[in-house]
């Protein structure tokens, strides 16, 4: 739809006066250009303002519609592709490398703050090359990580953890050739960095299900067990989430704590961009918003995957209550009114479901 037509539609839906139009229109247009038009799950030809107008028209005209509009203008957290890529690119120099430097300093008995000394040391070189970067989903964007940090070689990055076992011998050979100068050397990886784009509940990483550990971390722990890939006496595993809620971090940290004895090496979890409680939308805080969430709800979204968490999906998977949209998809932990797009309801940022991820 042409911009001007979409705008006209929106103005009609919202019943704006010319003064209000003058105020809102340039800003919306700017925000659409800057971020929202970049949503990658729109149908071809669809753009933000048209989607907004259609979405708003589901709500009662007047203050309910106004409240829905304010949800978008004042509470929505939209993480655009350039923003996410920035998190990916800076994860190495600002999160991972400082940790590697610290361990290399310890190796050489140099106070860790003498980075000038440490960075030139053999120990750091070993620590650096001895790091294996593994993506936990497509969102881990290991391609961006490598492109922006040329120091990381292709032979220490796996876009997908499912290849861990099969790639293991080759990875080890390359590592030994570089560090020991010999394929038959003894070196093994000393750091495993697990990368993922987003977590709201942390449940898809580690959880107990029928007294069994489930989730990506559990799977990986199983995969690496018995592989000769890592130096288990000297292994550090960093789980790094580009965007994570404090709820997810707490959950994963707690579960890791319980598992500490069973896992090889030391495990930690961290984030680049955090989401705190102040962003979360909870039932009972704003009755008008609760009403919108109830009214524009299709029980069809409450499928077996949704049922793995608390609640029926209105406030997102596991009642996470997030107002978050990632440019490549809206997480199911976000309020259903933002993403649910069914025969009955229209989503503002329609979500494409792939159940393996985003629990």
């Amino acid at each position: 739809m042409r911009d001007s037509l979409a705008e006209t539609l929106l103005i009609r839906v919202m019943g704006w006066t010319p003064g209000k139009v003058a105020e809102e229109r340039p800003l919306l247009q700017a925000l659409a250009d800057y971020k929202y038009d970049g949503y990658e799950r729109y149908q071809p030809g669809m753009r933000f303002i048209e989607s907004l107008a259609c979405w708003l028209s589901q709500f009662e005209p007047g203050f309910e519609r106004e409240r829905a509009y304010r949800l978008v203008r004042e509470q929505l957290v939209f993480i655009s592709r350039p923003e996410l890529e920035h998190l990916v690119a800076s994860s190495y120099p600002d999160y991972i490398r400082p940790r590697l430097l610290r361990r290399a300093g310890e190796d050489e008995n140099i106070p860790p703050y003498l980075v000038g000394k440490v960075k030139g040391s053999r120990a750091f070189n070993r620590r650096q090359r001895g790091s294996l970067f593994v993506g936990l989903s497509d969102g881990s964007r290991t391609d961006v990580l490598r492109r922006s940090n040329p120091i990381i070689s292709n032979e220490q990055v796996l876009a997908d953890y499912h290849g861990l076992q099969s790639r293991s011998p080759g990875l080890l050979e390359d590592l030994r050739e570089e560090i020991d100068g010999d394929k038959e050397g003894k070196s093994r990886f000393t750091s495993l960095i697990l990368l993922d784009d987003f977590s709201a509940s942390g449940l898809s990483y580690l959880r107990m299900e029928e007294s069994e550990r489930k989730g990506k971390i559990a799977k990986i722990a199983k995969e690496i067990d018995g592989l000769d890939l890592f130096d288990e006496e000297d292994l550090e595993v960093m789980i790094l989430l580009y965007v994570a809620t404090s709820q997810a971090l707490d959950h994963i940290e707690g579960e890791l704590g319980k598992l500490a004895k069973e896992l090889p090496g030391t495990w930690s979890v961290g984030k680049m961009q955090g989401l705190g409680d102040s962003e979360v939308i909870r039932k009972g805080v704003d009755p008008v918003l609760d009403k919108l969430i109830d009214e524009v709800y299709d029980p069809a979204i409450n499928d077996k995957h949704m049922k793995k968490g608390e609640g029926d999906g209105r406030y997102g998977f596991a009642n996470c209550g997030l107002p978050v949209v990632l440019s490549h998809n809206t997480p199911n932990n976000s309020l259903a009114i933002l993403w649910a797009d069914t025969a009955k309801v229209t989503g503002l940022f329609p979500r494409v479901t792939r159940h393996r991820e985003n629990l």
Partner: protein, 608 residues
């Protein structure tokens, strides 16, 4: 604005407040605009007038431009030199001249290349200066050499200025005069070996941004002797000291043309200014709206008949009431009622009448003389058209306040509100443009793009509030500046809304006796810290920023310096926009206002 004779043989000084358009004026004479105007010729709708004006002033002839102005910005580029405390002043000033000299040369060559449709710096090797520079012994140097020498000189200065060590004086260039003004004379510049046809003119912009000693030296050099290269000087009024600003009569100098842009527009040329900004507005609109043929003026809807029709009966009732049942006014009322007119015209007519009645009644009370004006007297009043129209405007203003009707709307009032400053016009009109652009998207629904009078007023009021807010962060001594403006404005409002509107349409200025203004000047010149000198500085700031303007006036056998509010403040204080209504004041009162003290001795002031 510019004289037609011998313009290029005189020094020209252009002054205005910020946004007054001095740089725009200078830019007309630079190669780009001159070439376009010449190419379009005399028959072009948009630039035909300009073409003829430039032709008369010898800036171009039938064959093409005859001058090539180099616009040399001085803002911020030289004053840092004056911060090198450890270097003595003489050395600093010689470095200033050397830098300026190099940049003028370079600027002139750049302008000539531009005029010849050549590129800077790629085509510099094709241009040269005959006679060479005095510094070099050769008879001709090329543009590339000029560039190389300027680059070297500038980078040396840049290194000294940003050195974290003590400045190295040896690195600073030094000359004692502006040699370039002799080197750029007629036939001196060659392109591909042939003299160029257009004469070099140097236009120094933002001279007020030099340090005080640099400006003094430059002015001395430029005004002392004639050189073959004409030089124009453009600066803000703030470069003038408060005592220069307060002076209302300037000394005449045959060799120097001084132009004060806003003063020029404010005089008898208000209609011309309105045309100017009208044109600006239309071009601005055509950039953002696809509604060919419609003008900005037409988009500003100025009829609000419904609103007026609603209040008309109340206005009539109020009129009849205030005539205190006197028969003698009945015929006036009859005369008004029978006229065929819009509700707005009738309401305004009625309210004007009410003001006149109030005047009559006041006059009667004062003179204790019962005299009744008949129809003929009314007619003689009507002959005094100016007064009648002033009263009508006051009436409309009063109505707008009494019935909350819009007053500040329509293109002509917007032009008045700009106080002869193009930037202010664009600032105030900016939100109107935005909103029109905004609703042009929605026009698919309604079909026409107009703004109601009420909405226009809302937007203008918001713009004026923003201007006021900005004032707090953009001028020196903002608190005092605002307080003094508030003092003046509130007093004007108080004197304007008397029932008989004695100073119709509004009081919009206050005046000081010339002798008092002179005392202020003396205090300012002495540079003391006393209150008079502080007041003079505050008034100086107000004048420099076009927040008020000053005009000489004679009344009651006295000479006065009248300070009128910038018209935008009329919105703030609810005043009409015409000039002419002012009230006498004195320095003590102005100072009290500036200090935020608004208590006044009642009845001390009598109207003029």
């Amino acid at each position: 604005m510019l004289p037609e004779d011998e313009l290029w043989d005189r020094r020209v000084i252009v002054r205005s407040s910020p946004g007054g358009g001095k740089t725009t004026l200078l830019r007309v004479f630079t190669p780009g605009p001159l070439r376009i105007v010449h190419r379009n010729g005399g028959s072009d709708d948009q630039t035909g007038d300009l073409y003829r004006g430039l032709l008369r002033r010898g800036a171009l002839d039938r064959e093409g431009p005859t001058i090539a102005a180099a616009l040399i910005p001085l803002a911020g580029k030289y004053s840092p030199l004056d911060q090198l405390d450890s270097v003595d002043e003489g050395t600093r000033l010689r470095a200033f001249l050397a830098l300026l000299n190099a940049r003028i040369l370079l600027g002139a060559l750049r302008a000539q290349l531009h005029m010849a449709a050549l590129r800077f710096p790629d085509d510099l090797e094709r241009i040269g200066i005959r006679g060479g520079l005095e510094a070099s012994q050769r008879d001709r140097i090329t543009g590339l050499e000029v560039l190389a020498s300027a680059t070297d000189l500038e980078s040396r200065v840049a290194r000294v200025l940003s050195s974290l060590r003590a400045p190295d004086e040896e690195m600073l260039p030094a000359i004692d005069e502006l040699l370039c003004l002799n080197e750029l004379g007629k036939d001196q510049i060659l392109i591909d070996g042939k003299p160029v046809r257009s004469r070099c003119v140097i236009m120094l912009d933002d001279v007020h941004r030099l340090s005080a000693s640099q400006r003094r030296l430059l002015m001395e050099i430029l005004l002392a002797e004639r050189t073959p290269t004409p030089v124009w000087i453009a600066e803000r009024r703030e470069a003038l000291t408060p005592d220069e600003l307060l002076a209302t009569g300037a000394k005449e100098d045959r060799d120097v043309v001084t132009i004060d842009i806003e003063r020029y527009w404010r005089g008898a040329r208000r209609k011309a200014f309105r045309r100017l900004v009208g044109g600006v507005a239309n071009r601005r609109m055509s950039l953002s709206i696809n509604t060919p043929g419609s003008s900005f003026a037409a988009m500003l809807d100025d009829s609000d008949e419904e609103g007026w029709a609603e209040v008309l009966p109340k206005v009539e009732a109020s009129m009849i009431e205030s005539s205190e049942g006197r028969k003698e006014f009945a015929s006036w009322v009859e005369a008004q009622l029978s006229k065929e007119a819009t509700a707005r015209e009738r309401a305004v007519g009625m309210r004007s009448l009410q003001i006149r009645v109030a005047r009559e009644l006041t006059a009667q009370q004062l003179t204790m003389d019962v005299f009744v004006r008949d129809e003929q007297a009314l007619a003689s009043l009507e002959e005094r058209r100016r007064e009648a129209s002033n009263i009508r405007e006051a009436a409309e203003l009063f109505l707008s306040r009494e019935y909350e009707l819009p007053f500040y709307f329509g293109e002509s009032r917007l032009a008045e509100l700009s106080s002869a400053n193009v930037d202010q016009f664009l600032d105030l009109g900016g939100d109107l443009f935005e909103e029109l652009a905004g609703i042009s998207g929605a026009a698919l629904l309604s079909g026409n793009v107009t703004l109601s009078a009420r909405r226009q007023e809302e937007i203008l009021q918001r713009a004026v509030r923003a201007m006021w807010k900005q004032l707090g962060s953009s001028v020196e001594g903002a608190a005092r500046v605002r307080a003094l403006l508030d003092g003046i404005g509130n007093y004007c409002a108080e004197r304007s809304y008397l029932p008989n509107a004695p100073y119709a349409p509004s009081v919009t200025g206050v005046a000081l006796r010339r002798s008092e203004a002179e005392q202020l000047q003396e205090a300012a010149a002495a540079g003391t810290t006393g209150w008079r000198s502080q007041l003079a500085r505050t008034i100086g700031t107000l004048l420099a920023h076009n927040l008020i303007t000053v005009q000489a006036s004679e009344a009651k056998g006295q000479h006065w310096a009248v300070f009128y509010l910038n018209r935008a403040w009329c919105v703030r204080f609810g005043l009409a926009l015409g000039y002419g209504g002012w009230q006498p004041s004195d320095v003590e009162e102005l100072w009290a206002w500036a200090e935020g003290n608004t208590v006044r001795t009642q009845g001390r002031l009598e109207g003029t």
